[in-house]
């Protein structure tokens, strides 16, 4: 038996998606984060993206680690199961959950402390394995929840609110994700919803490990002069390589762009990623070139954003493990136990 979502009753003027859901149906609890925190804008972008994609909220599972960023799954998609795991270990829990039921959509939300500091190992290996997920790091360069210590993504030479200079070189999660084989890699800014929403939509539609590094200023601890993760700094240094439109499968192609201006990539589910080029030389289908570009521009202090890399042919962990299409959590003894007769044979082999 399948259960079809029934929308809540809302004001009739609110726009509805293909499931007759309004954006309200994708909201969660009231956020308890600081007013102006970048993380809340990312939650809003997730809500918008899921609404636009007409996802059934209960078919998505949202997982996170620990931190202000990791609290946010409580603030969107209230009809989805959520799991606030332990600090830095969301990727392993998401991997296990994904193995248990491949039919759901998996959204992992993490912070820069969660993913680049304590959880760097799990981040690295979940990407390597090609877990089918959308992995969002809400990157503010600090540990918000423990009151402003530097995280591993803080830039060398940037200063803390109290004036301490960070001497350690930063971990660039985009560079790592590209090198480790993530098959959908993007960077954005919590303050740029127009760029962020399609990037999330494309990531959700992607089969494989999709990673988004979203600069998300912490207004309480890292929004001062001297920070490279402040609203002001990111706005001044944002180097967007492209603008993305996600066109659902079977949708009419309304306008034709000339080849030099756009790149179009069809994902496995039939949806198309249409990229409007801002930097004419940038080709998001070339992993090595993407790595070079990001490195070169970062060295100049620029924050490269956009869809940086996509491999539409990607396979995921289930393909690597050659698992059955039925979700594991629905298999019963008849499908899992080899039976008493086989056991008798196994016993005979032990004599």
């Amino acid at each position: 038996m399948t259960f079809v979502a029934k929308p809540k009753l809302h004001h009739p003027t609110l726009p509805q998606n293909a499931l007759c859901y309004t954006r309200r149906d994708y909201e969660g609890k009231i956020s308890t984060l600081c007013a102006g925190c970048g993380h809340d804008s990312i939650s809003a972008a997730i809500i918008q993206a899921c609404w636009e994609l007409s996802l059934e909220p209960h078919r998505l599972a949202k997982l996170s680690g620990i931190g202000c960023s990791s609290k946010t799954p409580d603030y969107f998609l209230g009809q989805s199961h959520g799991f606030n795991t332990v600090h830095g270990r969301m990727p392993s829990v998401l991997t296990g959950a994904n193995l248990a039921n491949r039919e759901l959509i998996y959204l992992g939300v993490s912070g820069d402390g969660d993913s680049a500091s304590i959880g760097i190992g799990q981040f690295v290996h979940a990407i390597r394995r090609g877990v089918n997920m959308t992995y969002i790091v809400e990157n503010n360069g600090v540990y918000g929840l423990t009151k402003g210590q530097f995280s591993a993504t803080a830039d060398q030479g940037s200063t803390s609110k109290r004036g301490v200079v960070n001497a350690d070189s930063p971990i660039d999660l985009i560079g790592l994700a590209l090198q480790l084989g993530a098959t959908y890699v993007g960077r954005s800014f919590s303050g740029d919803k127009a760029q962020l929403v399609p990037l999330i939509k494309g990531a959700i539609a992607h089969r494989g490990a999709a990673f988004l590094d979203v600069i998300s200023p912490c207004v309480a601890f890292n929004n001062h002069a001297g920070s490279t993760k402040s609203y002001e700094y990111v706005r001044a240094h944002n180097d967007a390589v492209n603008r993305l439109d996600v066109i659902p499968a079977r949708a009419e192609i309304a306008v034709d762009y000339s080849a030099g201006e756009t790149v179009e990539v069809e994902q496995h589910d039939g949806s198309r990623l249409r990229l409007h080029k801002i930097d004419a030389d940038y080709d998001p289908r070339d992993r090595i070139a993407a790595m070079n570009y990001v490195q070169q521009h970062q060295a100049r202090g620029e924050v490269v954003t956009g869809l940086l890399y996509v491999d539409a042919e990607a396979e995921d962990l289930h393909a690597h493990l050659n698992t059955v299409t039925a979700p594991f959590n629905r298999l019963e003894a008849a499908e899992l136990s080899p039976g008493a007769a086989v056991l008798a044979k196994i016993n005979a082999g032990f004599r």
């Binding site: 989805s80 332990v86 991997t95 296990g96 248990a100 039921n101 493990l321 698992t323 298999l331 136990s337």
Partner: protein, 624 residues
Amino acid sequence: MATVQEETAAAVPVPLSAVNDFVIKFANVNGSGSASANELFAKSILRMGVPVSPRNIFPSNIQGLPTWYEVRVNERGWLGRRGGVDLMVAMNPQTWDADLAEIEPGGYLFYDSTKPLPRSKFRSDVHVIGVPLTQLCSEHYTVARERQLFKNIMYIGALSVLLEVEPDAIEKLLAEQYRGKEKLLDANRQAFQLGRRYVLDNLPHPIGLRVRRADNVGERIFVDGNTAAALGCVYGGATVCAWYPITPSSSLAEAFQKYCMKYRVDPASGANRFAIVQAEDEIASIGMVVGAGWNGARAFTTTSGPGISLMNEFIGLAYFAEIPVTIIDVQRGGPSTGMPTRTQQSDVLACAYASHGDTKHVLLLPQDPTECFEFAAAALDLADRLQTPVFVLTDLDIGMNQRLCEPLAWDDARVYDRGKVMTAEELDAGKEFGRYKDVDGDGIPYRTYPGTHPTKGAYFTRGTSRDPYARYSERGPDYVYNMERLLHKFDTARSLVPAPLPRSAAKPARFGAIYYGSTSPAMAEAIALLEQDGLQLDTLRVRAFPFAESVRAFIDAHDAVYVVEQNRDAQLRSLLINEFDLDPARVPAVLHYDGTPITARFIARAIGERVRTAAAQTSHAGAC
């Protein structure tokens, strides 16, 4: 038989003589190919209907270090270590002195006599049997590796004549092992016969120790605990296995893989009904198991002590957020890297109270491979039923040694107990859902799988405190309600886990003993040894934590109850004292923890001495 010091032959004790009851130990060099020859030897005796119990004692190393294989041959079926060695097959010059010292007076030393050894290298009270193995090999083989390998099968040949092991049994086993590899089979047969021929032509035979055909093996199987536990996971319906290699648990995950590849592939599509992930560490292993369990699949990990330490934070999450998790801990010598290839029961407390805060966990304590199979499958059911981590605590002795045990059994009518899972139909029918609410009075709440229903039954799982409806809450009463419910749930577990098994002495006994896990076979023999000495002992084999009330009753019913275990700090005893608020004096500890499996002689001696002292003290007190 030639003894080294002919002139003092009169001083040599009478050669040990025994039929179907002796201990033979092979001292080898790691990586020399001795393992399969030694196993062949043990199996051939089994095929003669005589129970054997072999134990590998091996180093944490791939090649070059000493390794031993100790075989207990015992017609009565004692499968524990007895203690002492009757025949030493000394193939390792590095350990010669220590190996020689272990032989019982009147026992036998078998060695490679190619190079003459000075008299000082022998013991006058031991009978020496020399076979020039190296020389024989050099005469018959040219390739260096062959010279090494066939030495092993050659000494098996020699031993078969000395001990009267039926050559047919060995030849049959060889034929089974090398089926389809005729060239190898022939070469092995030849080496085997060379060994036999040499003894037949040159040495007195048989010796005092002999194997005679019996009928005491029956339907029993010969398998190691890790293989059996892996099969338990296959039969018990585990679909996700996440693990990180560590001795002595790795072979469990590898066996799971082997059997899944054989029995868990969908015949129509060729796709797998299982997923095995070799994780980046034990934190990730347990994290994956937590994720899969949360999402309704049966999942397990297998590890040893260091892995348990790493998993601690997640174990607390699974306990508090109530997620089914199965952890098979094949214990080894700790702390730290400790004795990684030796056995111990030293993770009991680390598992029972794993993680920070107030926690208690379900432990299952199998005694042999049969119970490894049963308890692994049971753990998957219990984890789902109780929505909590369940530990199966085996050890290297059970896990990595082949043990004669009852055949594995499975009832095809058995359905998996998925515990309290609320379905979309139930939610639609208006059944109230409070994720952390005790509606049935057993402390176990209902859960829903992610994706169940569009508008009902979704909840947010977290390691922070919450109210019965899974809403974040820092209110004291909400926290206390939850912690009390978890205790109540643990109490419910008491009646669901395997019950302790009592055994009463023939006559009323003042003293008792509690033991568990791999101590079991040595304990059985120790009881018989003590009875021979006129000492009666009631025993109770504990098979799980939380302890049944009958464990307390057993302790109350005796003047003293010895708690026999294989760790330094008397961990199960501490657990008993703590959980039952016992007077420690009532449960004296009997501890063996040098890394070798406990022996019957050790237990009998330790308990015998104490019982006699205790009895003397009470009679003295009575006289005052």
